[in-house]
Amino acid sequence: MKPFVTILMLLAGTQAAAAEDVSILIKNFDFGPMNVTVAPGTTVVWKNLDGEPHTVASADGLFRSQALDQNDSFRFTFGKPGTFRYICSIHPNMKATITVK
């Protein structure tokens, strides 16, 4: 019975790695980390720590958050591969990138 159990655990382990969220913090008018690479199917979670609201808005319109107040979060799950530039639409000099591959 042992090998069967081992295989099950291996499979479970792989699924957990793919489902792990990636965290980006919005702090001091910056996205950190500014350039992130994730596997397809990953959910990215942005959290705003600033007293000033920010948004997360992709250049190509793929994802766009509402205005995020302090401690608000926004989640987006990335499907297909690609490079996605985004900004804060309220402070557009805040720029960052997500690469999905």
Binding site: N28, F29, D30, D50, G51, E52, P53, T55, R64, Q66, A67, D69, Q70, S89, I90, H91, P92, N93, K95
Partner: protein, 297 residues
């Protein structure tokens, strides 16, 4: 039939706590006798950055401080007939915030005109903002009107941001502005109001408008121009020829001076100091006159 002179507006800044009135004339601040103030008829009130919906440490009760400001204005013997809100009515563009803001601002006796701040249009098209305030401009956001001989121009510079963070009018609005000013008598006083500063105060924080110089060029020939902005939650002024640029305080919370910190966020101050950093601005007609010289050829 020639108008021989035009009249320059002076601006009075009404602090929430002290209630000090002072006039600005040709860029020089002079204290004003309160008795004198009571006999002058205010032309309009500028109110800005009410940020209804904000509730963090810098001011947990922005509706309360707004109410204080409005009560002070309504208590004047001659409340202004016109109210210009230079944007960031709400904090997060939410319907409930617009509801509350409307409820409070409707207590002002004057006719209300509003331009959006970037906090009012965070959804992109500004659906909530234009549902409430879009009528005078046919939902374009920019428009003009005349009152008591003064030409008022409402501009929108928060829906077309440049990559460097500066606000912008966009080509259509710029063309409209040129057209609106064309053929207008240079002796008619002009008041322009928009959310972001129409001149560059501090570019790293986006405190400016990309077409600022072109706009100033269009306004230069007029004898009296007053440019009213908000956005930076503090008073910064510039006088350039006949153009008086002025940003107003917020009724919600102060912001740091340019460059003092990582960015233009809410500035926390001791609660006793807060009222002195919030306020509104009153404008009245006063001497001296704005003189426009012209030659025969």
């Amino acid at each position: 039939m020639m108008e021989s002179f035009s009249r320059r507006e002076t601006l009075k800044c009404l602090g929430l706590s002290a209630g000090t009135l002072f006039t600005l004339s040709g860029g020089i601040l002079t204290a004003m006798d309160p008795a004198q103030a009571r006999t002058e008829t205010p032309l309009f009130l500028q109110i800005s950055d009410t940020h209804i919906g904000f509730n963090k440490e810098a001011n947990p009760d922005v509706a309360g401080t707004l109410r204080q400001a409005l009560d002070k204005v309504n208590a004047l013997p001659r409340p202004p007939a016109l109210v210009l809100h230079t944007g960031d009515v709400t904090h997060l563009s939410r319907p409930a915030e617009f509801d509350m803001a409307n409820q409070l601002l409707s207590q002002l006796k004057g006719e209300l005109h509003v331009v959006p701040g970037e906090h009012d249009v965070t959804d992109g098209p500004g659906t909530e903002f234009f549902a409430r305030f879009g009528k005078p401009s046919g939902n374009r956001g920019y428009y003009s009107f005349d009152m008591q001989g003064v030409h008022f121009i409402a501009l929108v510079n928060v829906m077309n941001f440049k990559p460097n963070g500066l606000g912008a009018l966009g080509d259509d609005q710029l063309a409209w502005l040129k057209d609106d000013l064309a053929g207008r008598s240079a002796s008619q006083p002009i008041v322009v109001f928009a959310h972001m500063p129409l001149w560059t105060i501090y570019q790293p924080w986006g405190w400016g408008t990309a077409e600022g110089e072109q706009i100033a060029e269009m306004l230069r020939r007029f004898g009296s121009v007053t440019v009213l902005n908000g956005h930076i939650h503090q008073i910064v002024q510039k006088v350039e020829g006949n153009i008086h640029f002025h940003t107003a305080r917020s009724t919600a919370y102060p912001q740091p001076q340019a460059g003092n910190g990582p960015g233009p966020g809410p500035l926390v101050v001791p609660p006793t100091e807060l009222p002195g950093m919030l306020g509104v601005t009153m404008a009245a007609r006063a001497m001296p006159l704005a003189l426009t010289d012209s030659t025969l050829a």
